[in-house]
């Protein structure tokens, strides 16, 4: 298994090379005129003479061949220079490092409620198949699944912020931001809530959680439906299997039958879905970030795409591809741990 993991990780640079080459080529297809707007204000562009425009294109190397430009980008990448981010108004790498912690933090905290509770609900529904609790959970799932996130997010804001004042939007309060950026505050993990704990600032930690609660609630509500439905159907299938009957025929307690014999077998399809979800969470959630005014990778990428901010887009692509490759590797390893029939070679 170790050899398998190492091999997959060694493939990562190759994957990154391929993906960035594709995205880079696609972006270059826009042509030098469009590309120039990434460097010069559009209003200004209209006023410039053709000679001036040509000079600018030459200056930014827009007339060079694609491969030359890509190699130049790669060279800079190895020096740790991903270019200037129009969206972030700072170097791309720095802009991303400012946003990734907020995305990862949300993913980390949303993981348990979304996946854990989703599976729990699904198992509950399956063992009470066709009983009132099962119907209730299923209705809940359909309602949750049919809600658009921008509607539900606004409801959460309305109730828990406007009405109750519990869960404010944003990354953290202004006073918290001041402590967070003060020189005495040590950034160890770069995840604000964890660093708050490590610095012994419980008030800051609570403030971070209050700002996380709204997005987590929204994401949970929307994704529970999906995960509990997969879990429920997978469990129902497994509960009909002969080995579950064998386990019962041994005289095992129903709890052991469910938790030991049925659940583990039911987890394979759930792992696939939950894994994809976690990868989605890690790549940022554009709408939830926008509604709750969080500065995460989702919004950053969306803005970069809107403004034709190529440097930021390519940086985001690097980040997503890495998450995707490592995430899928973790899912594959989990499969092999859950089911001994799956061998990684």
């Amino acid at each position: 298994m170790t050899a398998y993991i190492v091999r997959r990780l060694l493939l990562l640079p190759l994957v990154l090379f391929g993906i960035t080459l594709i995205v880079f080529s696609m972006l270059q297809m826009l042509g030098p005129d469009k590309l120039l707007s990434a460097y010069v204000n559009e209003n200004l562009l209209d006023k410039l003479s053709p000679e001036k425009l040509e000079a600018l294109k030459e200056k930014y190397g827009l007339n060079d061949r694609l491969i030359v430009r890509y190699i130049k980008w790669l060279k800079n990448l190895f020096r740790g220079d991903l270019g200037w981010s129009l969206v972030g108004k700072e170097p791309v790498l720095k802009a991303m490092l400012h946003r990734i912690p907020y995305t990862l933090e949300l993913a980390l905290y949303a993981l348990f409620p979304v996946v854990g509770v989703g599976i729990w609900l699904g198992v509950k529904a399956s063992i009470h198949h066709n009983e009132p609790i099962d119907h209730f959970i299923r209705v809940f799932a359909v309602v949750g699944w049919s809600f658009p996130d921008f509607v539900f997010g606004l409801f959460v804001l309305m109730i828990f912020y406007s009405l109750l004042g519990w869960f404010p939007p944003g990354n953290m309060s202004i006073w918290a931001e001041e402590i967070f950026s003060s020189p005495s505050f040590k950034h160890i993990t770069h995840l604000p809530s964890i660093d708050a704990l490590l610095n012994g600032r419980l008030d800051l930690f609570v403030d971070c959680l209050r700002h996380l609660a709204g997005p987590i609630l929204t994401l949970s509500w929307l994704w529970w439906a999906y995960i509990l439905r997969i879990t429920r159907s997978s469990m129902l299938e497994v509960l009909r299997k002969d080995y579950v009957r064998t386990a019962r025929a041994k005289g095992l307690d129903e709890k052991v039958v469910i938790n030991k014999h049925a659940k583990r077998n039911a987890m394979i399809p759930v792992t696939t879905v939950a894994g994809a979800m976690v990868i989605g969470l890690m790549s940022g959630t554009v709408i939830v970030e926008a509604i709750f005014n969080r500065t995460g990778m989702g919004r950053f990428t969306a803005q970069a795409a809107q403004q034709l901010d190529f440097a930021s887009l390519l940086g985001a692509v690097l980040f997503y591809s890495t998450i995707l490759v490592i995430g899928n590797l973790i899912i594959d390893v989990l499969y092999a741990i859950i089911d001994p029939r799956i061998r990684l070679t």
């Binding site: 025929a249 005289g251 001994p340």
Partner: protein, 336 residues
């Protein structure tokens, strides 16, 4: 010597409540099992033989319900026990093995883990002790290198080895009754013979009773002391195994025996009972076999009682005399 009754099933009725209606899968079945003997239950698919065995252990799925009857095990009615008390019986006093050893073992746990589970549960021993017992059991059922095999997963064993592991698991707590639901159906013929031989051997050693459920009269002839023939949820004939084969008293039993090809006769076509088992939702009134029976008359619209036709031989048919005449003619025709 009068043998001791260990299990007595009286007038068992197990119904399934489906969306299309009530399926009377087992409808008034009675039989008894004596200590150390093998009772065969034989019948076509859907005759209720598996449901009968699952009813004994109360392992029916959510749609199935035992409507009536008594299941007396060592004098206690199993239907009166609480779920907790029932768990004490399952795997400990009455164990069960199933048809498909591939699917009856949990693919994600080692066979050792699955055998030890029952031992730890019922014998309240430590894990090391349970492991020792499990290895001992694997050795007994003829699995080579049990110390190594105990840590293997079901998919690493062959079909025959898996069924041996299932038997080891079932017998690990030394049960009084082993219910074997088509234990050899999924195995090829040479392995079948080995498994049956093994079961006989272990029965001699442990002195347990076996309820052998099968559709295969060959297995019945090989294994059973007494036989219960079921058709469409009812008992049609119940007799000593020799007597049943020599002197069947029900057209269905006779039909089953005729459908076994014989080596000394040349056939144009193999004999078969015409028609199929009726849909469980719409069993015919009266004798349920009458729509396939060559002796059926209007009389058969009335349900025939299960009566003792001779010592320890029961049959439920209105036309036993007709059947015996025809059987005699057939026999004479053969010898002539």
């Amino acid at each position: 010597m009068e043998k001791k009754k260990i299990l007595e099933v009286r007038n068992l009725k197990t119904y399934f409540y489906t969306e299309d209606g009530v399926v009377k899968a087992v409808d008034g079945v009675s039989f008894e099992v004596y200590e150390g003997e093998t009772l065969g239950i034989v019948g076509e698919s859907g005759c209720g033989k598996s449901v009968t065995s699952l009813s004994i252990l109360r392992l029916l799925d959510e749609k199935g319900r035992i409507e009536e009857g008594e299941i007396l095990f060592k004098g206690k009615n199993l239907l009166d026990l609480s779920e907790d008390e029932m768990r004490e019986i399952r795997g400990n006093e009455i164990a069960m093995i199933f048809q498909e050893p591939m699917t009856a073992l949990n693919p994600v746990y080692t066979i050792g883990d699955q055998i030890m589970e029952a031992i730890i549960l019922h014998q309240k021993v430590s894990e090391q002790k349970a492991r020792k017992i499990a290895i001992e059991m694997l050795k007994k059922v003829g699995i080579p290198e049990p110390e190594k095999r105990i840590d293997e997963y079901p998919h690493e064993l062959s079909g025959g080895m898996r069924q041996r592991a299932m038997i080891a698991m079932a017998l690990s707590c030394n049960p009084s009754i082993l219910i074997a639901d088509e234990p050899t159906t999924a195995l090829d013929v040479t392995i079948q013979a080995q498994i049956l031989e093994l079961m006989k051997e272990l029965q001699r050693e442990y002195g347990m009773s076996i309820i052998m459920i099968t559709h295969d009269l060959g297995v019945i002839a090989e294994m059973a002391d007494r036989v219960l023939v079921m058709y469409a949820g009812k008992v049609v004939e119940y007799a000593d195994v020799r007597d049943l084969f020599k002197d069947p008293h029900h057209p269905y039993t006779w039909g089953l025996m005729n459908s076994i090809p014989r080596l000394d006769v040349e056939y144009e076509r193999l004999n078969a009972i015409p028609g199929v088992v009726p849909d469980a939702l719409h069993f015919p009134e009266g004798c349920r076999f009458r729509n396939r029976c060559e002796f059926a008359t209007n009389k058969c619209a009335e349900e025939p009682p299960l009566v003792e036709v001779k010592a320890n031989h029961f049959s439920a048919c209105w036309h036993i005399d007709e059947l015996r005449k025809t059987m005699k003619l057939a026999q004479e025709g053969e010898t002539a």
